[in-house]
């Protein structure tokens, strides 16, 4: 039985659930509101259940675990012991150093390069579709597949490796790649960039396409050269997306895990590839130290939170 919407009904409902009128049944305003809310939550319950189980609850549990120690089924509270132990792990500082190095290098290669590429691609009037497909293709590969390609073929330290063969072709010195402590990190960043830059390029491209053409006209009429136009028009116009992607990239690269695992068998030669994420994995799943791993996770959370806070402060200050 349909209920006609009267003007008064509509007005009343504007304070309640938006525009939804449940027919029949509850007569009282409160009853109707309750039923509306229940229906709303009925739709939400599935997602809420999964969020609670796998996001909210684990977040709290991780913090709790970092202050506990579980052995043979018995759990005790140990205060900051886990944190102390983690910090005293000789690989702790190396892992942070490596991770920051990776993040920094990735900012140069994996952040600046895609932006430049996007600017370049935006200028082309032809073959754009083809180039976009090419640049995004590696993103669709399973990381494990792509990394095995790099590990066995590209980074082969002998002259039979793809990269070494190319270097030799240009009469450049070949490299030991993953077997050299100094080349390990750059090699990982190169592989990671190759695999992931496509997404960034496409996002930048979309942002670039939204820049009004007249700004460029005006700049050109003012006599601004190419680089000046980029500096004065392109970058300010894409400031928000640049800031957002920078932050997303930094947060993501700080958690680098699969590159050390597959390319460097984890720690790499002389610990040159150990990342904080790999250390978490090592403690949690190699050394049976889940509490220590949780503690390291909390430390990572604090570092990332501090970074985000500083970052947001810096970027919003400019406004």
């Amino acid at each position: 039985m349909a209920t006609t919407i009267s003007f008064q009904d509509t007005k009343r409902k504007q304070r309640g659930p938006a525009g939804v009128n449940l027919s029949g049944g509850t007569r009282t305003r409160r009853g109707r509101r309750l039923r509306d809310n229940l229906t709303g939550y009925a739709f939400l319950i599935g997602a809420i259940f999964c969020f609670a189980l796998f996001q909210w609850f684990p977040m709290i549990r991780g913090i709790v675990m970092s202050f506990q120690h579980t052995r043979r089924g018995v759990t005790t509270w140990v205060g900051f012991d886990n944190f102390v132990r983690i910090v005293q792990d000789p690989s702790f500082w190396t892992a942070w150093k490596n991770t920051f190095y990776f993040t920094g290098l990735a900012l140069v290669l994996g952040y600046a390069v895609p932006f430049v590429v996007a600017i370049l691609l935006n200028e082309f009037r032809h073959a754009k579709g083809y180039l976009r497909i090419l640049v995004y293709l590696p993103v669709m590969l399973p990381p494990a597949s792509a990394l095995f390609l790099f590990k066995y073929y590209a980074y082969d330290p002998s002259d039979a490796g793809l990269f070494n063969a190319i270097l030799k072709f240009f009469h450049l010195p070949t490299s030991q790649w993953m077997q050299s402590p100094t080349m390990t990190m750059p090699a990982m960043v190169i592989a990671s960039t190759w695999m992931n830059m496509g997404a960034a390029v496409l996002i930048y491209l979309a942002a670039l396409q939204n820049i009004p053409g007249d700004l460029y006209e005006a700049a050109e009429l003012d006599g601004a050269g190419l680089l000046r136009r980029i500096w004065n028009v392109t970058i300010p116009q894409t400031r928000l997306i640049l800031a957002l992607l920078a932050m997303l990239q930094i947060v993501a690269t700080m958690q680098v895990f699969i590159e050390p695992l597959i390319l460097a068998n984890g720690a790499g030669t002389q610990d040159s590839a150990t990342s904080v994420a790999y250390l978490i994995y090592q403690h949690g799943f190699f050394q049976n130290d889940l509490n220590g791993a949780a503690a390291l996770g909390v430390i990572m959370l604090l570092v990332l939170a501090a970074f985000s806070a500083v970052y947001v402060r810096l970027t919003t200050k400019q406004d």
Binding site: H69, R71, R72, P90, P157, S180, G266, D289, G292
Partner: protein, 460 residues
């Protein structure tokens, strides 16, 4: 969309959801009572050979069939967990997640880890002659390794000790005497130089430096120097001394002094064996069963490989690394399941003439027969005599290949407590020396010592 269409679509969605749920729930399977529908006792056993080891897999399956025929009330479900039955991170993950099979494979060094996880079952009362016919003949030292506080938790099924494996063909090509392999590390160095001079990417001597195997070999080589990994109370590292330094120095000399170890390093268990099978390795430290792996998994030739005792620094080796493996039982199994598991292990691993000791079957399959290990039975016992006789009768390996190794016993030291974690730490020292020409051996050992001390005090 009209009401009937809406209903149909809703029904479809519901069916899909239910379908997923049912499929998902049923794949979990697992009956707690250990019995299947027909009342038979069911046990799951892992370390079934994987697809690439065709003969071994066929043998295993044939054995399972034969066992089930002889024990009609038992069903065995075999699981292959991959090429390395105990791949440390996976093994730890299985323990943590409780996803091991009922009867699961583990190394001798895993006992503490298994106990700590609370997943092991005490099988002392079941480990008797009734369930394992040859139990009294099994070497007591091996039983002791799997015993804690007087309780037995696993059955030993293989043991090994390390020596020096060398490729006879390459020795001949390099003009070295096959019957007189290197006795000291200096000899190894000389031989390695000659073999790598053959060129073609051949490494005179190869060693591991990744996947915990680097540390494993460091330990073995340290033992050959007469050193120990841990202090007597097991609480601190004790390899930062001239002996430990010598181990790394020997490797450094060969790697960068003579360039006789090949350019590809960071080798894990399978990498080195792959190279060896391809004829690219002159010598490496290993146990006799490395030959089996080379032949079975990596398509090498068994008659190419001979074995010498572990080299020492100034003469005979002062010790060598020995270890082994066995099968644990997961907790909460029913008595029938435990008995079934024990009977299966006895059949497959501890019965002369059957399973792993079925030499008559192995010979035509071109598996190496005549290896000096495993030596599971106590000296002088009936079972041992039987096994040795059958071995000799079906031997396909030239006797001289392992004669020297067998004739020269070297004191065997077991693996250190918390072995796998310690090995992971020493991987770094090994990889440092093998990939960095400017590596400072003192620093490497110092870092490793700090880490190992931490591990031992953490005790987790």
């Amino acid at each position: 969309m009209s009401v009937p269409q809406y209903r149909r679509a809703a029904a479809l969605a519901l069916a899909a959801g239910l379908g997923f749920s049912i499929a998902a729930c049923s794949t979990k399977g697992g009956d707690d009572s250990g019995k299947d529908a027909s009342g038979k006792t069911v046990i799951t056993v892992d370390c079934q050979p994987d697809g690439s080891q065709k003969d071994l897999l066929a043998n295993w399956n044939a054995d399972v069939a034969a066992f089930e025929k002889a024990n009609p009330d038992v069903t065995i479900k075999s699981v292959s967990v991959g090429q390395q039955c105990d791949n440390p991170p996976d093994f730890t993950a299985r323990l943590t997640g409780g996803t091991m099979t009922d009867v699961f494979y583990g190394y001798m060094t895993d006992l503490q880890q298994v106990l700590d996880s609370g997943q092991a079952m005490d099988i002392t009362q079941y480990a008797t002659k009734d369930n394992i016919p040859t139990w009294d003949s099994v070497d007591p030292a091996l039983k002791a390794v799997f015993t804690d506080s007087g309780k037995i938790y696993a059955i030993p099924t293989k043991n090994y000790s390390m020596g020096l494996l060398y490729n006879k063909t390459l020795f001949q090509k390099a003009g070295l005497d096959v019957a007189s392999p290197p006795k000291t590390w200096a000899d190894v160095r000389t031989a390695a130089k000659k073999i790598s001079a053959l060129g073609g990417g051949v490494a005179g001597y190869a060693d591991y430096s990744a996947g915990n195997t680097g540390g494993w070999h460091f330990t073995a080589e340290l033992y050959s120097q007469g050193g120990d990994m841990l202090s007597t109370d097991g609480k601190s590292a004790s390899f930062n001394n001239p002996m430990g330094k010598q181990v790394l120095q020997n490797l450094k000399d060969m790697r960068y002094g003579d360039n006789s170890m090949g350019s590809r390093q960071l080798l894990q268990w399978a990498d080195l064996l792959t190279n060896a099978a391809a004829g690219k390795v002159g010598m490496f430290v290993g146990a006799p069963d490395a030959t089996t792996a080379i032949v079975q998994q990596f398509q090498g030739k068994y008659d190419e490989w001979a074995m010498a005792p572990m080299p020492g620094q100034d003469g005979a080796a002062k010790g060598t690394l020995g270890g082994g493996e066995g099968y644990f039982f997961r907790k909460d199994l029913t008595p029938e399941q435990v008995k079934a598991g024990l009977k299966w292990i006895a059949f497959e691993k501890l019965t002369p003439g059957k399973g792993q000791f079925d030499y008559a079957r192995a010979k035509p399959q071109n598996q190496p027969v005549g290896l000096p290990q495993p030596l599971l039975f106590a000296n002088g016992s009936d079972a041992q005599k039987q096994e040795l006789d059958q071995r000799k009768a079906n031997q396909n390996l030239p006797t001289e290949n392992f004669a020297l190794f067998e004739a020269t016993p070297v004191p065997i030291k077991g693996e250190p407590k918390n072995a796998q974690a310690i090995y992971a730490v020493l991987d770094n020292a090994m990889s440092g020396v093998l990939t960095n020409p400017n590596a400072n051996i003192d620093d490497l050992l110092k870092t490793a010592t700090t880490k190992v001390n931490q591990l031992q005090t953490a005790g987790s």
